[in-house]
Amino acid sequence: MSMTLERSGVRMASPDRPLEYSRPLESTRIFGFWLFMATDMLLFACLFATYLILVTHTDGGPTARDLFDVPGFTAETLILLTSSFTGGLATYAMRRRRLGLTLSLLAVTMLLGIAFVSFEASEFIHYAHIGATWQRSAFLSAFFTLVGTHGSHVSLGIVWMLSIMIQLARRGLTPVTARKVFIVNLYWHFLDVVWVFIFTVVYLMGVM
């Protein structure tokens, strides 16, 4: 199974490494995913820059202070941070080879993710109802695009996590499934970090 490094001649992997790193190919894939996250981080950086330029361009429409609801975005933040914690616990359980616990923690993470996305969707729908659509002003275009890109990342993560749970349930913990659990949680933490910046730069600075 170990392909890439074996193909380049490095044959054996050390058995005392964590399961997801135990085969060279899986370790290379994790490295590749870190590289992907670097580009994704830069993508968000560009969206943040765009938002910061346009935040004052409200064209006489609703401003950040008019719109943002402190209890609402605080709840979203708490839910997402908690889901990141349970995701971390899932990786921990996976490393201790506890399949059932891993699956249930992933399920909790996924449910929290669904809750987060629902909150965000209802927030967006509410804004649209009061006329704050993304066609209204450059500020709102930038707001919906930045926060929406994060939200669609989370939505994709939910589907991805579900597919990995199915694979995990079918195949148990192998170096391959362990690597998948590890990567999806890396992704989830990454989205959490991005959210911390959205929380600060968009919401907190918006209502200050």
Binding site: T4, Q135, S163
Partner: protein
């Protein structure tokens, strides 16, 4: 029925536009029928699918990139000749303004994104795994996805010509001109979506090659023992990772403006068009380094090989590559000094721009010092490299002139600029790609390209280049602006424009000579029976040509830089021959048709968004999602090549 057909023909196929479109339609149709007929007649459909469309082998993917790059070179070149024909005389009416706009847009976009990019990826794929002693790239399946995304994006972009209309707002596509209100119709959407789709593939390629170079090197191949071409690919991939996200965002936001009516770059409702210009050039300027650093890598290999000397100043070569990687990312504002950001901002970017000249100068001197007292052989790759040095030094000098912000207010958007960037991109990149093609051609196909025809092409192209572009510097200083479709007779620009057009046609003829050279050499080219036709220095020349699909029967243990050369000098080449008892079973990834289908799905989605046909767009995106999910559930994606088979292949190549 008939009126519906006419309606369709006029709206989407642009049949009211006249004979140019009709001729193109007929030519495309005839070519398609010929291809289908040939494949059917020679019973090659299965071969095409099994050997090429589903392959994950980096060598085959490299060859497919090369073929596409040459085809796109032809298309972009024809666009260039059409423009030069229109400009040959004052008040010419060969093209009208609208067609001229479309043609300079497709010329620029194709040459950068659908010619230069696949050309560098061709060389990435062909050379890197062989140079570092690997059996494939880190993620072969992803590599195939990258290729097919590029392929279908290029198809999407090219199809616009006869289906819906080409984009016409320049390859830079600045808003507000590109906003829906000023540029209705699907043309601009074709630009946005095809670049977006190929951009995804490009980012994947960047990730793939960084992972390959950092994780898949043969034992003993330390970073500072890597060939300079591999270093150049690493530098280029790092830049891809750093700047392509900015392009993704710029294109996505403009698409949201056009499709969903947001206000990022509109004048109304608080949008800011200059933000697009910034995001675009945050990518656009480093893009130049993405392609030119790879060409620098080729020159480093070629100069060392054909001077029969190790490269002068290896460490400084590596350092200068990395310096350009970093400094090149912070020069983008020099594309729009005239935005008026103020003296402080403009000074900063003027200085960073000039700073790029320092590491580039280091490289030029290192190449010259490598040749000094070397035993130089004037083969085709070496000729193109020598031509590059002269050409690129002029490009650098005019570049520094443009970088001086106050002077740039005079040069901005004039033919002086057009001449400068053609000199940098043709003299820097195209010469390098051709040198690389000639250099690695025998490794790919097992025969050399004919020297005599190659020299004809070389001289025609080079003389043609100077005849074409030197007058343009003067025209720029005389006040001729870029993108003007004609000019009045009294300006005194007629003669120089006519001379420039002659040069362009010489370059066109040179391209045809290269085509003839390839066709001639398939039959009569000198066969490469040793695998080392150039007396090379790096690991790829220790393998037979063409290379067996598993690359190395036994992964070599590397003991130094230019190891193959050292072993030849010391008469120890046997050490790189596989010993039968060392040959083991090899795991290789299985072929898969899914990357191809994923490209189709992206194409369908792109076409849907181009015409605001959301049903089709959703269908395409569902196809993409299905491909992703199916891949996630795929576990049995490798096959084993038994040691016996490898021994058999190696023995038949006379290597055991």
């Amino acid at each position: 029925m008939l009126s519906a057909l006419k309606q369709f023909g006029d709206t989407y196929l642009m049949w009211q536009e006249g004979p140019l479109i009709w001729i193109s339609d007929i030519l495309i149709l005839v070519t398609l029928i010929a291809i289908v007929a040939a494949l059917t007649y020679f019973k090659k459909w299965k071969w095409l699918w099994k050997e090429w469309l589903t392959t994950v082998d980096h060598k085959k993917i490299g060859i497919m990139y090369l073929i596409c790059a040459l085809l796109m070179f032809f298309r972009g070149g024809v666009d260039g000749l059409l423009m030069r024909t229109q400009l040959a005389f004052p008040n010419n009416t060969f093209l009208d303004a609208e067609h001229y706009d479309q043609i300079f847009t497709t010329h620029g976009t194709i040459m950068i994104l659908f010619m230069a990019m696949p050309f560098i990826f061709a060389l990435f794929n062909i050379a890197v795994p062989l140079q570092i002693g690997a059996r494939d790239v880190a993620f072969p399946y992803l590599n195939a996805i990258s290729f097919w995304l590029f392929f279908f994006a290029a198809l999407l972009f090219n199809i616009a010509f006869v289906f819906g209309g080409s984009p016409d707002a320049g390859w830079t596509s600045y808003p507000p001109l590109t906003e829906l209100g000023f540029d209705p119709g699907p043309g601009e959407n074709f630009y946005l979506l095809s670049l977006q789709i190929s951009g995804i593939g490009t980012i994947a390629t960047g990730i793939n090659f960084i992972a390959t170079i950092l994780k898949c090197r043969a034992p003993g191949m330390t970073l500072m023992r890597m060939p300079l071409f591999t270093w150049a690919v690493l530098a280029s991939s790092i830049i891809i990772l750093s700047v392509f996200p900015a392009l993704t965002v710029a294109l996505a936001l403009l698409m949201l403006d056009r499709i969903f009516g947001t206000h990022f770059f509109t004048i109304l409702h608080g949008g800011n068009p200059m933000m697009f210009v910034n995001l675009f050039w945050v990518w656009g300027h480093p893009e130049v380094y993405i392609v030119v650093l790879v060409a620098f890598g080729v020159y480093s290999e070629v100069v060392a090989t054909f001077s029969r000397k190790r490269i002068f100043g290896y460490a400084s070569m590596v350092a200068s590559l990395m310096a350009i990687t970093v400094v090149g990312d912070i020069t983008w504002v020099h594309h729009f000094f005239t935005m008026g950001a103020g003296p402080d901002v403009n000074s900063f970017f003027a200085v960073t721009t000039m700073m790029v000249g320092i590491p580039t100068g280091v490289k030029i001197f290192n190449w010259l010092m490598t040749m000094y007292q070397g035993r130089i052989r004037l083969t085709l790759p070496m000729l193109w490299t020598l031509a590059f040095i002269a050409c690129f030094v002029i490009a650098g000098a005019t570049g520094v002139m443009l970088a001086a912000a106050p002077a740039d207010y005079q040069f901005h958007n004039s033919y002086f600029l057009v001449a400068h960037f053609h000199q940098a991109l043709i003299g820097g990149v195209v010469f390098g790609m051709l040198a690389g093609m000639y250099y690695w051609w025998p490794k790919m196909f097992g025969f050399k390209l004919d020297e005599r025809l190659g020299r004809w092409a070389f001289w025609l192209y080079n003389i043609g280049f100077y005849v074409c572009f030197m007058p343009q510097y003067a025209l720029g200083l005389m006040g001729m602006q870029r993108r003007m479709y004609t000019y009045p007779a009294g300006m005194g620009w007629g003669t120089l424009n006519f001379v420039s057009t002659i040069g362009a046609y010489m370059m066109g003829v040179a391209f045809l000579v290269i085509v003839a050279q390839v066709l001639y050499s398939i039959k009569y080219g000198e066969r490469d029976v040793t695998g080392d036709p150039w007396d090379g220095r790096t690991l790829e020349w220790s393998l037979p040509s063409p290379v067996p699909h598993y690359n190395f029967a036994v992964i070599p243990t590397v003991t130094g830089r230019d190891m193959w050369w050292t072993l030849k000098q010391e008469g120890r080449t046997e050490e790189l021959r596989p010993r039968p008892e060392d040959i083991r079973d090899v795991h290789m990834p299985k072929n898969s048709g899914r990357p191809f289908l994923m490209g189709v799905a992206f194409f369908v989605a792109g076409l849907g968004f181009c015409f605001w046909w959301y049903g089709l767009a959703v269908l395409g995106l569902l196809g993409v999602a299905a491909c992703l999910l199916l891949r996630s559930f795929e576990y049995d994606d490798e096959h084993e090549i038994p040691a016996e088979e490898i021994r058999h292949v190696e023995a038949s190549l006379g290597r055991l």
